[in-house]
């Protein structure tokens, strides 16, 4: 049986500028899925998965995902990601903030 765990990386966090999620180690997992939910009114967001050798230096992995104004949730799946994972989220501003709830589901 595989090991499975879902962690809540950002818990209903209001963002008003570009935001990178808390760096998360997942080297034990063979597959990862980020779920990004946005509560209430929000602008269109661009969400870019990133990986890192050390949790300090980051490189994009895959293409950015758009979450449109009328959408509430999106999922970004990753494999062959090394160890560290995070999301870089852009589009929120002081005038148009977003409240994000980010889950990371890991299996391996």
């Amino acid at each position: 049986m595989l090991t499975f765990a879902t962690s809540v990386i950002e818990r209903r966090l209001p963002i008003t500028a570009a935001h990178s999620t808390h760096p998360f180690e997942a080297g034990w997992a063979g597959e990862a899925v980020f779920f990004v939910q946005v509560e209430g009114t929000h602008p269109a967001l661009s969400i870019q998965a990133q990986i890192s050798p050390d949790g300090l230096h980051w490189v994009d992995r895959g293409e950015p995902r758009k979450l449109l104004e009328q959408e509430e949730i999106t999922a970004i799946d990753l494999a062959n990601f090394g160890g560290w994972l995070r999301l870089a989220i852009t589009g929120a501003t002081e005038q148009e903030p977003a409240t994000v709830l980010v889950h990371l589901a890991l299996k391996g």
Binding site: S7, V8, R11, W28, D54, L56
Partner: protein, 310 residues
């Protein structure tokens, strides 16, 4: 019938009481340990109001302890440990903990023994800040510790200890045990808030006034509690240390804290007794926590832990 009992060899590095209730080697995953969160039971799934954002702590993770310039550290035995960590944010020590400045994990258990006398937690652990800047780094770890959240038919009580490593950048390196100072009011405990569920003696890790010398409403200094814990010269080197806390459940007193090769006699000391909370009789939650002293993530790695009773 002849019974044969064999134990996992990894238990040899522990000194458990008669009943090993849980033995968690984090090479096998989270093993039922999870991030502590408040109760999301109000309208819109909001938690009860609190002056400290109890939903803000950094998520724990299964870690191979990768380093910036060194190789992956692995764990004491195996590859993975449970890593508590913080976000890179802190207030000054004497202010309330900043959102995200702590990491807290727990396991939710219960008492099954009507004659329970002792509860004990042991751990092999290591600690270090993230190597995101030059320097030694030791002074950026404020504190880490362990406590039991307990409720018996008469009281809710939280016996625990913490190692105060650094206060506003000054190395302190002394142990404290959980007990609220006499006369602390609810308003003082909760940063000015008088309503709600918080009471002195509940959740000492983030409530109560803190003072610049490292003392606090929520904690008392362990007698002769100074200890120069092993911190190995650089943020990318970790050494595995032994921890054991023994509690007398019937007398509601501390018994012993063992840290590495040193045992502190805590007999005669007791934590704060609080009125019981609704519907949590027999609750036994073992809880580890870590707190950063500055705008830097710090890590507490747990290789393995054993909860045992007698």
């Amino acid at each position: 019938m002849q019974r044969v009992i064999s134990y996992e060899r990894g238990l040899e590095k522990f000194n458990p009481l008669r009943n090993v209730v849980t033995y968690d080697d984090f090479d096998l995953g989270f093993n039922g340990w999870l991030d502590l969160t408040p109760n999301f039971v109000n309208a819109d799934y909001r938690h009860h109001p609190s002056e400290v954002d109890l939903a803000s702590w950094a998520p724990s993770m299964i870690s191979a302890a990768p380093m910036r310039f060194a190789a992956t550290h692995g764990s004491m035995e195996g590859t993975y440990s449970l890593k508590l960590n913080t976000k890179p944010v802190a207030n000054r020590y004497e202010e309330k903990p900043a959102n995200g400045s702590m990491g807290v994990v727990l396991k939710r258990l219960s008492n099954f023994d009507p004659n329970l006398r002792y509860v004990q937690m042991e751990a092999w652990y290591a600690y270090t800040p993230q190597q995101d800047r030059l320097g030694f780094g030791e002074e950026d770890m404020r504190a880490f510790g362990f406590y039991f959240d307990l409720q018996d038919p008469e009281y809710r009580w939280m016996p625990g200890v913490r190692y105060v490593n650094s206060v506003n950048g000054e190395l302190t390196k002394k142990w404290q045990y959980w007990k609220v100072a006499d006369g602390v009011t609810k308003k003082e405990w909760c940063y000015g808030r008088e309503d709600g569920w918080q009471r002195p003696g509940i959740d000492n890790l983030w409530y109560g006034r803190r003072f610049p010398d490292g003392s606090a409403d929520a904690f008392q200094w362990v007698p002769d509690g100074a200890q120069d814990l092993l911190y190995n010269e650089s943020p990318d080197k970790i050494n595995w240390l032994y921890f054991r806390l023994l509690i007398d459940y019937q007398r509601r007193e501390y018994v012993e804290l063992q840290s590495m090769d040193k045992t502190f006699d805590l007999r005669g000391l007791s934590p704060t007794m609080s009125e019981p909370y609704k519907s949590i009789n027999n609750l036994i939650n073992p809880i580890f926590f870590v707190e950063t002293d500055t705008n830097r993530s710090v890590n507490l790695f747990l290789d393995s832990v054993v909860y045992s009773t007698e």
